[in-house]
């Protein structure tokens, strides 16, 4: 009896300890997680806990001083580049280690390792898109340049110095939650982060849906519904501003430019609006007499914040700005001489080639009248709590065959089967070098020269110094025949291959245009009439850029505050263009009381998407419903791409009898006025049944979520704006960093981002800027001239000493 009792009790204890020390799916290991001595409790940060200190940092060559300001932005003063990047790596890791590692794991297709087999298809997808392979190639390029190699190695050493001093109780919160330990940092991870950026900006295509459209409706209809240049446009480069150059020969358009392939199913469409803005105004039109620059890149918003702010100071460099945590340098920012910002270009740099395999062994494929060998790359995916999965990816000279004809693709929305991927992410220049040089540039020629090594993603780089403003739509663009890659391409025909590149000195650009400002909002970089090369045909609509240009044209004596107000402008040209026409079609006599109220709300609307208004909600619901009623019968989104908003606007305004208004699924013939009236009534009626949703700020249901979507770690947003307003908040996609810089002998700058410097959800600095960001406030950014420059707001100083 004694034995049994003892055995049972000991077994129970062991089971309890073992059971509490492991995870079950999404349930954390409760023992270590809840323990107040090593668990999550320890990640809570006390107020006043953050103080001046001295610490020894492995690998430093000389002491480094770091001054923290009231936003907890580190101002790093180093005596050489090596120490500068080492300190940046160390400090970024202190704030954002988990985020950095999580992003690189996602890029590399290694999430199954952390989370389990539910991430397997996503991992497989990342690997089949060739992310790791291309990151490795990119790494080679970056390591072959002494400056970027030094920066990457020093940064990596800094991150690892932080990791090495961590014991499990110090691990960032998310490691404890998922019950794993940080992995050592490496330069490859930096390359992966840059690939992730390219993936975010260019990793989609509608070629498959467009091909389905082409098969169903023929070339003439496609030309009509999907023109290469939009109905209304204000291109980034105004006519005549583009410098003259002698173009290289453009490849001829092959007679048959559509690969004959089977119908594929699709689900995701390319997002029409990425939403970033930037602009600069010349000194002649500003109150200070010096140029002003604004930049607000829009991205999927997350906590921890996408950006980490930093000032980097060493001999030859004094720059301030934001960077994706995990890579050295400053991405968007300014120095004592120049300021710069980016928006996505959105050129067509991802194409699919139908592959003809010799037989089912898939050892060879047909190209240029002969069989060529397929290269096989084996990918090993580790799975938490399971066996390793081995996956083989087939490579052609085009690129990887992401999915074979019999396979079901992940994210099948933009992934055809049996096709090889040709993608700019697989071509490499040294993007880190560009940032390294821009951070140190003092004038326009240096800035322009730095852009030469920037391949992807292509950005509209806005620029200002004390005398000049400029914008350059810079990146590596394949030299294409007009329309190449709008549809799936024929992988057997060499005429369909990418056949060279637009020379880097011939990318669209403008320096000091006559109108006194430059701007971009992801719209077409240049009118095809003014530019010889084809860049793509699906740029963002013109509405945001039109509003920016309208406001900048009207402004005089521009101040930084005028820019702040413009960045949070909620006006939209979409209702301005179509609402009067749509309301004119409403039969007012047939409206009920609530419908009349809705009609009045829209009729009196000033086209501003303000958070506390009703009209924006009505308008969005109504026009979306109307667009679906018009197009979803002919263009079901699972397999077809519907025409763009721009083309729809043209149709509503100019083609009252277009065939597309009829619903092909009903015997009777629908007309535009019918659709307008029925959809309006439906939206007006449904509105007054769900009262709380009446305000636009609530109705749109915007949220900022934790990167791993943990409930409780994000926040619901209440803010104005719309996808086509300058303040382009849309779902959880929006302005990730608002920056305004005033050039001059003393550069001044302002900025805000939705979150905070710390990635620790147990810190006040995790999201303390969120409310200011929602309210449209900016904080003055503290830009120190030298280490002697010591205002009271930087009372916290860390001295990093060498070993």
């Amino acid at each position: 009896m004694k034995w049994i009792k003892a055995l049972v009790s000991v077994a129970l204890t062991l089971m309890a300890v073992y059971g509490l020390n492991r995870t079950y799916g999404i349930i954390p290991a409760l023992g270590p997680f809840l323990s107040p001595y090593e668990g999550f409790w320890r990640n809570s940060e006390r107020e006043g806990e953050f103080q001046s200190e001295e610490l020894v940092l492995e690998g430093l060559q000389a002491p480094v001083q770091v001054r923290f300001d009231s936003l907890r932005v580190p101002h790093i003063f180093a005596q050489n580049d090596h120490d500068l990047y080492l300190a940046q790596g160390y400090l970024t890791a202190r704030d954002r280690l988990w985020q950095m590692e999580f992003m690189t794991h996602a890029a590399a297709g290694r999430l199954s390792e952390l989370i389990g087999d539910q991430m397997l298809e996503m991992d497989r997808y990342q690997r089949r898109m060739g992310m790791v392979t291309s990151a490795k190639r990119s790494l080679q390029k970056m390591m072959s340049d002494p400056q970027t190699r030094n920066a990457m190695q020093a940064y990596t050493a800094g991150v690892n110095a932080y990791i090495d001093q961590l014991s499990p109780q110090d691990y960032p919160f998310e490691y404890k939650l998922l019950h794993y330990a940080p992995e050592r940092w490496s330069p490859l991870k930096i390359a992966l982060l840059l690939k992730m950026l390219t993936n975010d900006m260019t990793g989609y295509s509608d070629d498959l849906r467009m091909t389905n459209n082409l098969r169903k409706y023929g070339a003439e209809t496609m030309k009509d519904l999907f023109p290469n240049y939009p109905f209304r446009e204000e291109p980034i480069m105004v006519a005549g501003a583009q410098p003259k150059f002698k173009p290289v020969p453009i490849p001829p358009t092959p007679a048959e430019f559509m690969a004959g392939a089977a119908l594929h199913s699709l689900e995701r469409q390319k997002p029409e609006n990425l939403g970033s803005n930037n602009w600069a105004v010349a000194g002649a039109r500003t109150a200070s007499g010096y140029p002003l620059l604004a930049s607000d890149p829009h991205l999927g918003l997350t906590l921890p914040s996408i950006w980490h702010a930093v000032q980097l100071h060493a001999p030859g460099i004094n720059t301030y700005g934001v960077m994706i945590p995990g890579a050295p340098g400053v991405g968007i920012g300014f120095n004592e001489h120049i300021a710069w910002g980016m928006t996505n270009v959105g050129a067509d740099v991802l194409d699919w080639y139908e592959i003809k395999f010799k037989d089912n062994t898939r050892q060879q494929y047909w190209h240029n009248q002969r069989w060529k060998p397929v290269r096989r790359v084996v990918e090993k995916i580790k799975v938490k709590g399971g066996k390793d999965i081995v996956d083989t990816v087939l490579y052609t000279h085009h690129g990887p065959v992401a999915y074979l004809p019999h396979e079901k693709p992940f994210r099948s929305g933009n992934t055809p089967t049996g096709h090889a991927l040709r993608w700019i992410a697989h071509d490499n220049q040294n993007e880190l070098k560009t940032l390294f040089l821009i951070n140190r540039a003092t004038n326009y020629p240096q800035f322009r020269q730095a852009l030469v090594t920037w391949a992807a993603p292509a950005f509209n780089f806005v620029y200002a110094d004390t005398l000049n403003i400029a914008i350059v739509s810079n990146g590596l663009y394949p030299l294409k025949w007009p329309g190449q890659g709008k549809f799936l391409l024929d992988g057997t025909n060499p005429a369909h291959d990418w056949q060279g590149w637009i020379p880097m000195n011939q990318v669209p650009m403008t320096l000091n245009p006559a109108r006194g400002f430059v701007s971009s909002a992801n719209q077409s970089p240049v009118n095809p009439k003014d530019y010889p090369y084809y860049l793509g045909s699906t740029f963002a609509g013109y509405e945001r850029s039109a509003r920016i240009n309208q406001r900048l044209t009207a402004m005089n004596q521009v101040t930084p505050d005028s820019f702040r107000v413009l960045q949070t402008d909620n006006y939209s040209f979409v209702p301005k263009n179509i609402l009067p026409t749509l309301l004119g079609l409403i039969e007012q006599n047939n409206l009920s009381g609530t419908q009349k109220k809705a009609f009045q709300a829209l009729a009196n609307w000033n086209y501003r998407f303000e958070a506390n208004q009703l009209a924006p909600y009505l308008f969005e619901e109504w026009t979306q419903r109307l667009a679906k009623a018009i197009f979803f019968d002919e263009f079901p989104p699972e397999t077809q791409k519907a025409p763009s908003r721009d083309r729809l606007v043209q149709m509503l305004l100019q083609e009252p009898n277009a065939p597309w208004y009829d619903n092909v699924n009903t015997p009777q013939k629908e007309t535009l006025p019918q659709l307008v009236n029925t959809t309006f009534k439906h939206v007006a009626d449904s509105l007054y049944t769900k009262d709380a949703k009446g305000q636009w700020g609530n109705a749109r249901n915007s949220t900022i979520k934790h990167m791993a979507q943990l409930p409780g770690f994000g926040q619901k947003l209440f803010a104005g704006g719309s996808a086509n307003s300058i303040n382009a908040l849309n779902g959880s996609h929006g302005p990730s960093w608002r920056m305004v810089v005033q050039m001059g002998p003393q550069v001044q700058a302002w900025g805000v981002y939705p979150g905070g410097q710390s990635g620790n959800p147990g810190s006040r600095f995790y999201d303390q800027l969120l409310n200011d960001w929602q309210a449209g406030k900016l904080h003055q950014l503290l830009f120190l001239k030298s280490v002697q420059d010591q205002p009271a707001t930087t009372s916290i100083t860390w001295t990093l000493k060498k070993n």
């Binding site: 003892a6 009790s9 107040p36 001595y37 090593e38 668990g39 409790w41 809570s44 919160f173 959800p761």
Partner: protein
């Protein structure tokens, strides 16, 4: 006496060792000092429970629950106080059963 020993040694161990060191401390001290089963269990339960309650309370109060409120939402327990209670109970139970095991194992030689 056993309660005090577990409290002190348990606390000390947790500052330097993984959380499951509480089981070893309770087991070992109960072999040495436990008088009877209930004495062992209660000493482990209360002493470890107290260390976990103290730790959780300290972090929750000293930081205005900045993190504990988030974790409570994530674990759908709604209130950080419930999280404090769950934490305390979990530590207490491990302390209790491991101390009891120590006592029962010692009895094998008596």
């Amino acid at each position: 006496m056993l309660f005090l020993l577990i409290l002190l040694l348990g606390l000390l161990a947790q500052f330097f060792l993984p959380w499951w060191s509480i089981a070893l401390v309770c087991f070992g001290l109960a072999i040495w000092k436990a008088q009877y089963g209930r004495h062992a269990f209660l000493s482990g339960f209360l002493a470890i429970g107290l260390t976990w309650l103290g730790g959780a309370l300290f972090w929750h109060l000293a930081t205005d629950g900045v993190l504990s409120n988030r974790v409570a939402t994530m674990m759908t327990v709604n209130s950080a106080w419930i999280l404090v209670a769950v934490t305390t109970f979990l530590g207490a139970m491990v302390g209790g059963v491991s101390a009891l095991s120590g006592y029962l194992v010692r009895r094998l030689w008596e």
